[in-house]
């Protein structure tokens, strides 16, 4: 039983069932939002966040079902449990939104991000960069005599760590896709 005495497996809406009690502690949640692939749907979601003062830490969106006309928006957001609950409820009432899943609380999930790193350097720096890239399983997707572009996928933390290591080795630019996430199992 939750603090609000809602039994697990209750028939109400999923996002609503998962309401935690009010607390001041900020949490980061990954939300998967399945939407109708209509013009303006992304604007509705973003407008909701800006209009109500919620945070967007990362946002990715792409069509996932062409025939079914569905897109999936993955949002990483942070706030108190009450705010997170509000965000889910507010997303849920957008007419074009089919489903809101909170991957952070709905059991285990996998999260991945892809990033491209441009690193310039020669000599030891260049050798060190490619050695670290190998450790991180990053691929070289472009190479000149004094630069590399690395492609890396992984959790956001892994990409952060790679960025930190590349910084002294001549890191010039980073492009990150934002988080894509799915729940594990069936």
């Amino acid at each position: 039983m939750s603090p609000l005495k809602i039994k697990k497996g209750s028939t109400s809406h999923s996002a609503y069932d998962l309401r935690p009690s009010f607390s001041d502690k900020e949490e980061q949640h990954t939300l998967a939002v399945l939407v109708e692939n209509e013009p303006g749907v992304l604007a509705r979601v973003i407008g909701l966040f800006s209009g109500r003062g919620y945070n967007i830490d990362s946002l990715t969106v792409a069509e996932v079902d062409h025939l079914g006309h569905r897109s999936r928006i993955t949002i990483v957001t942070s706030g108190t449990p009450q705010i997170i609950t509000q965000i889910k409820a507010q997303l849920g009432r957008i007419v074009d939104v089919h489903k809101v899943n909170d991957l952070t609380v709905e059991g285990p999930s996998v999260e991945r991000e892809l990033a491209l790193f441009k690193v310039e350097g020669t000599g030891d720096h260049r050798i060190e960069a490619i050695r670290l890239a190998d450790i991180f399983r990053a691929n070289v997707v472009d190479s000149t005599l004094n630069s590399f572009v690395f492609e890396i996928t992984g959790t956001s933390e892994k990409i952060d760590a790679f960025a930190e290591l590349m910084q002294p080795l001549g890191l010039q630019e980073i492009a990150r896709t934002g988080v894509a996430a799915l729940s594990r199992g069936t």
Binding site: L4, K5, I6, K7, S10, T11, S12, H13, A15, Y16, R19, S21, F22, E36, P39, G40, A43, R44, G47, G51, Q82, T85, Q86, A89, Q90, G92, R93, V95, D96, H98
Partner: protein
């Protein structure tokens, strides 16, 4: 059966199929094909307003008073932007309206064409949903879905933006029953939670029903079930501004409106209760006052169709997501099946306490001297009209709160007011919409002179369609509520809160061909009101009232419910502390 027709014809056909009888609108270049179709039929009556804001408020008044969706039709650009205030008003108060806007042809969209604006972009945050229809084949399904979305779940305004080439082009008309929608909000409440609430009702010592506009939006059955529940349990009931009429003001268990300008007994009961049953209200800041001191000792149940209303500002113990009528029906059944139990002895004690609070008689006033007190004017209006088939609209300000306090509502859908947005200028066009929906009823707009002037152009509309709406203006030559706050909060520096250069309202009425009545003497008031009621046509009633009357009782911002200011003798100096002053 599929039929080929132009987009403009589809609009009219879809409105007919949706049972629309009245459309409020204003023509312009981008909606001319639709107006041409309206010209060539007799099923739908078009009411030509004088400003698009008036069209949307009229549609709101129509919707709120009939329970059917209101429809407005406006042109692109300025037509659409003028509709924005009405749309926002309808969103805040959950009023189902469908607003059709014209748009420049699809091939000109994005070119900053004449009267082109991004209407779906502008109206996205102030509608429940909106569409730009780019293909004529998509027009009919979109129109049907628009009505479905506006009226189901938590009702609200929708906009359909229709480019002119889509109106001219021929496409296939789709009938409503062929349209599939994924939007079907849950109406049945969770039975476990409902049982939980029934149990809480059995043991509550100091229970209270706190009802709101959701009861009215849920339909007449909800009000009926609520009355049954209140009657059977014997619990006291209060309501928000938006919920007035869901339980009769003459009912035994009615303890009056609650909130910032609510009754003393209602607010005290909310503060001291041990079980609060919120039915279709949303813990608005006008209701809660200071959040951390809001009803500190109570268990709270909340019935709402909108999941985002539950636990938004006040944490509740028994959340029930569902439609009020459905939930109340189940609640009644469960509670009856469990033996119809309440803690009668303690509820009786609770009533003794409430009756003691009632003795404060927070609405008492004395009409002395030769100046009409606004409270007296409303008390007389109530006395002289309460037996009529009566609908009341209001503008926004002191007069609105006084009307809520001094007029009694016996049934739902009889009280149309701008609650959430607080839109001055709402009441007059809303009264026109109400009168269109109820041609034989007595429709009165209780107004302040400043609010009324904001949409005064609609007097032309009332005249053109012979709508006998009564404009009861409490004229204190002040922006009364602004003035009151300046007295309480800003050292009596009355910055821009005078209504200067006011028109002669009698002459103004006459200029439009309407009737004007002025009254400044309490002894003449009854006769003047009767004269207004007897006139078969629009009346502008200029009631000159006491200029410095304040609206009491009042919970100052930042204060809890049990610290109300009562009556004229209240110590208003420094009533609002600096932390409350930032709130409105």
């Amino acid at each position: 059966m599929t039929k080929a027709m132009t987009g403009a014809k589809m609009v009219v056909q879809a409105l007919i199929d949706q049972g629309v009888a009245t459309v409020f609108g204003y023509p312009g270049g981008a909606v001319l094909p639709i107006y041409d179709e309206i010209f060539q039929q007799n099923s739908i009556k078009h009411v030509l307003v004088r400003h698009e804001q008036g069209a949307v408020h009229a549609a709101e008044g129509y919707a709120r008073s009939t329970g059917k969706p209101g429809v407005a039709l406006v042109t692109s650009g300025p037509g659409a932007t003028n509709a924005v205030t009405g749309l926002t008003d309808a969103l805040m108060d959950s009023i189902p309206i469908v607003v059709l806007t014209g748009q420049v042809p699809t091939f000109m969209i994005g070119s900053d064409a004449f009267q082109e604006r991004d209407t779906v972009g502008i109206t996205r945050p102030c509608t429940k949903h909106n569409w730009l229809v780019k293909e004529t084949d998509r027009l009919a399904p979109t129109l049907h879905e628009a009505f479905h979305i506006a009226t189901s779940g938590r009702p609200g305004p929708v906009v359909i933006d229709i480019p002119k080439d889509v109106q001219f082009a021929t496409g296939t008309y789709t009938e409503a029953r062929q349209v599939e929608t994924h939007y079907n909000p849950q109406v049945k409440g969770d039975m476990e939670m409902i049982t939980e609430l029934a149990k809480a009702m059995e043991t509550a010592k100091r229970p209270i029903f706190y009802t709101g506009g959701g009861v009215i939006n849920s339909g007449p059955a909800a009000s009926q079930l609520l009355r049954e529940l209140v009657g059977a349990t014997g619990f006291p009931i209060t309501s928000t501004l938006m919920g007035l009429g869901c339980y009769p003001a003459s009912g035994d268990n009615w303890i009056g409106m609650l909130g910032m300008h609510g009754l003393y007994e209602a607010n005290m009961a909310m503060h001291d209760c041990d079980l609060m049953i919120n039915i279709g209200a949303r813990f608005d800041d006008r209701i809660t006052g200071r959040l951390d001191a809001f009803s500190p000792g109570s268990k709270k149940a909340h019935i709402d169709i909108d999941a985002s209303s539950i636990n938004k500002v006040i944490k509740v113990d028994i959340p029930i997501l569902g439609d009020v009528a459905h939930v109340l029906e189940d609640l009644l059944n469960v509670w009856k099946a469990r033996g119809r139990k309440t803690d009668k002895e303690n509820v009786q004690k609770w009533w003794h306490q409430i009756n003691d609070w009632k003795k404060v008689d927070c609405l008492k006033f004395e009409q002395k001297g030769k100046v009409i007190k606004p409270l007296y004017a409303l008390a007389r209006l109530e006395e002289l009209t309460k037996k009529h088939d009566r609908y009341i609209t209001t503008e926004v300000g002191q007069h609105q709160m006084w009307a809520a306090q001094y007029l009694g509502f016996e049934d739902p859908n009889r009280w149309m007011t701008s609650g959430g947005l607080g839109t001055m200028g709402y009441g007059f066009p809303a009264s026109i919409g109400v009168q269109m929906g109820h041609p034989d009823a007595l429709v009165i707009n209780v107004a302040g002179e400043a609010s009324w002037l904001m949409n005064m152009q609609e007097l032309g509309t009332a005249m053109q369609y012979g709508l006998p709406v009564k404009q009861f203006i409490l004229n204190n030559e002040r922006l009364g509520m602004v003035r009151q706050w300046q007295e309480l909060l800003h050292g009596e520096r009355y910055s821009s809160s005078w209504s200067e250069s006011l028109p002669d309202f009698v002459k103004l009425a006459e200029a439009f061909g309407a009737k004007g009545i002025i009254c400044d003497n309490p002894d003449d008031l009854d006769d003047a009101i009767i004269e207004m009621l007897n006139h078969d046509g629009p009346v502008l009633f200029d009631c000159l009232v006491e200029k410095h009357e304040n609206c009491f009782p009042m919970i100052p911002s930042g204060k809890p419910h049990n610290e109300m200011l009562l009556g004229e003798n209240a110590d208003t100096a420094n009533a609002i502390k600096s932390d409350g002053a930032v709130m409105v």
